[in-house]
């Protein structure tokens, strides 16, 4: 851990209690994020990535089964704070979030400007005038015309609303913003616009991002690092360049191969089968039954190996690579 590390997740666990059993949404996740960097958590539906956002920001529903691990923000474990302390000191102060379908999460009876100003009033103690002023600045930063400050959400297009949601996450100048599928419901050019906004903010303010998405192509617009999530576990963490050219984990490889491309001769491929349910994850490697490189060792859950400084959870890398001793083995006896 060096001075550049902003956030470190150690052995983070979030399980939900449901009438059908325990859903192991976030299963012993380890992740590091450096200052002014963006890490993309890449995964498909049902892999638990949205629960990651909730776990990091402690936005928990009522049916939490298990929630433990370390969330080190600049070396301080925010998991040790009480809920009230967390709300006051961390959430929307140091870390904020743009939730999924944020454009539908805006309060329909509040004007756009007021909504963006609200976090400033609550967390920075500003009065309404000051906060609205700050909101105006935010609108400029995200590219929304300032006369939209007094408009209601229904008067704005989807792209505009998403930008308002980003402004809301920005206004308290957090060090980290977690974005959950920020562009998935938007048009192509609007997506490109939003990514431009996010890039500009990153370069100008030094904010770090955790971008959660299933859209591989769009994620490359922002990614410094990519963490691939499958069935509640992180199976690979790699820097963007290496990842997009030569991913390490078989799942990552198949994912990259399934992206349709505008140019080039290769036809994309798909992965047959379905990801396992998080209710009763299989023992052994969770990707084994869909893996084209499966062999007999895969019946046992692989530890995480460090390949050229990058964690990969796959038996193929056992030879010559060191396994990490932390509880990323996820056998569950740590609970």
């Amino acid at each position: 851990m060096n001075d550049n590390t902003l956030l470190k997740l150690e052995d983070l666990v979030l399980y939900f209690k449901t009438s059908r059993g325990e859903v192991q949404a976030v299963d012993h996740v380890n992740l590091e994020l450096h200052k002014n960097k963006a890490v993309v958590i890449l995964g498909e539906s049902g892999c638990g990535k949205s629960s990651m956002a909730k776990a990091i920001l402690r936005l928990l529903p009522r049916n939490v089964g298990q929630y433990h691990g370390k969330v080190l923000l600049e070396d301080f474990d925010v998991m040790s704070l009480s809920d009230e302390e967390f709300r006051r000191q961390v959430r929307w102060v140091k870390m904020s979030m743009v939730p999924q379908a944020a454009m539908n999460a805006l309060n329909p009876v509040l004007r756009a400007g007021e909504q963006v100003a609200e976090p400033a009033m609550i967390h920075l103690g500003m009065d309404k005038e000051e906060a609205l002023d700050l909101a105006r600045q935010m609108f400029e930063n995200v590219g929304v015309p300032v006369d939209f400050l007094t408009r209601y959400p229904f008067e704005l297009s989807g792209g505009m609303r998403q930008r308002v949601a980003i402004a809301m996450a920005l206004i308290t100048k957090p060090q980290l913003i977690v974005l959950d599928e920020p562009t998935s419901a938007l048009d192509l050019l609007t997506q490109a616009n939003i990514m431009n906004v996010l890039k500009t903010i990153k370069w100008e303010t030094g904010t770090s991002y955790i971008l959660i998405t299933h859209d591989i192509a769009t994620s490359s617009e922002l990614a410094d690092e990519v963490a691939v999530m499958y069935a509640g576990q992180i199976v690979e963490i790699n820097d963007a360049e290496s990842f997009f050219q030569e991913p390490l984990h078989p799942y990552s490889q198949r994912l990259m191969a399934s992206v349709p491309r505008l140019y080039g001769d290769e036809e994309p491929d798909f992965i047959p089968g379905r990801p396992p349910s998080l209710l009763n994850p299989p023992t052994g490697c969770r990707f084994a039954d869909r893996c084209h490189l499966r062999f007999d060792k895969c019946d046992e859950e692989p530890p995480t190996f460090i390949v050229d400084g990058h964690p990969v959870k796959c038996w193929l890398y056992e030879k010559d690579h060191q396994a990490v001793e932390s509880a990323a083995t996820g056998t569950g006896d740590a609970s």
């Binding site: 963006a38 048009d187 609007t190 192509a217 505008l262």
Partner: protein, 353 residues
């Protein structure tokens, strides 16, 4: 295996496969805007003077962003909307005003695959009922025949083993499986045209290719014409041959896919291609070139060319005054843009970069 529907002789004189399956002429789909439900305030010009043809067994892609009119166009072809002006001609017959039995016959000729697979399936019906509905409605009285056809349809979309799926409800299926049920339902009446509206955009990346391949297989095996509507350019190469680009209710460019990808002409098309991301780490290092602004309102579209407020090659006095006509700078490649008035054949680069 004939059905009561296909035995309708008036509908099928010896069909000449060289004539287009569908022809759209001067199609205008306008929706009336009324204040208080009474007084006429204006028109929403969702589709404005669109012309094209679709041959038997041909697959075309219609590309555009939301509000470009592609959904309205598609719904008009399904006769879920009526044209305001203009005609839709199917196998030589004007279908714009069909009613009653003829309308029902036409509906059996066109299959509809929707964007949201879960919303497209009635949540309270099991799979076998979902698939038997179109058959029952279109007069397939024999239960055994229906079961046969359901089985066949399911095998075609690889929902096997069939018996495992027959009694499942939609919420028990994955997104990909749901979409396959939707496709099976669309195919079960053996249509000649399949209209697919963003069929994979709500599915996971790893499943999209599976569904697109399935659509391609169906097209090849049944000589099916397909209209594939999407805003994701990277999927159009899959099985479409020609591509149509729509903006603000108008067709702005039409050509073959490879030609479009290698030689896009309309500024909007260029913007779409530039805006499409390819997984490449260097993307994070620079901003993308995106045209400013947003698609215009369809109630009061800009005068002249509708893209002019956002166009990097805007010619004042021309583009904002007169609508560009259909120009064909290269054979088979039609574009509506004043840039190509003088025989230019490729997109001019902008000086600033």
């Amino acid at each position: 295996m004939t059905t009561d529907v296909q035995a309708n002789p008036a509908a099928n004189p010896a069909v000449d496969e060289s004539t287009p399956l569908i022809e759209v002429k001067d199609l205008h789909v306008w929706f009336e805007l009324k204040k208080w439900g009474f007084s006429h305030v204006g028109w929403v010009r969702a589709v404005d003077n669109v012309n094209f043809q679709l041959k038997h067994g041909e697959a075309i892609a219609i590309v555009g962003e939301s509000g470009c009119g592609k959904s309205s166009l598609m719904k008009t072809l399904l006769l879920l909307n009526r044209p305001h002006k203009g005609q839709v001609i199917y196998e030589g017959k004007d279908i714009s005003n069909l009613k009653g039995k003829d309308l029902k016959w036409y509906r059996s000729q066109v299959g509809y695959v929707q964007q949201d697979p879960y919303g497209a399936l009635p949540p309270f019906m099991p799979v076998h009922r979902i698939l038997s509905e179109p058959l029952v409605i279109n007069g397939v009285k024999n239960k055994k025949e229906r079961e046969e056809r359901i089985r066949q349809a399911m095998e075609e979309v690889a929902l096997t083993p069939v018996d495992d799926f027959l009694n499942k409800y939609p919420h028990m299926l994955s997104g990909g499986q749901q979409q396959r049920v939707v496709i099976a339902r669309a195919m079960i009446l053996e249509p000649k045209l399949l209209v697919a509206d963003e069929p994979v955009s709500m599915l996971d990346a790893s499943v999209r290719v599976e569904i697109l391949r399935l659509l391609r297989k169906l097209q090849e095996q049944h000589n099916l014409s397909v209209m594939y509507i999407t805003h994701d350019l990277s999927t159009v190469r899959f099985f479409s041959e020609r591509i149509f680009v729509m903006y603000a209710g108008k067709l702005v460019e039409q050509t073959h896919i490879e030609e479009l990808l290698n030689n896009p002409l309309h500024p909007y098309t260029v913007a779409l291609l530039t805006g499409t991301s390819v997984p490449d780490a260097s993307n994070a290092k620079h901003l993308k070139r995106v045209p400013p602004g947003e698609p215009p309102s369809l109630v009061n579209p800009p005068t002249g060319c509708r893209f002019h407020p956002r166009c990097e090659h805007f010619i004042s006095g021309k583009c904002d005054v007169e609508e560009p006509p259909h120009l064909e700078p290269l054979p088979g490649h039609i574009v509506n843009c004043w840039l190509y008035e003088d025989g230019r054949t490729s997109y001019p680069k902008v000086a600033s970069e």
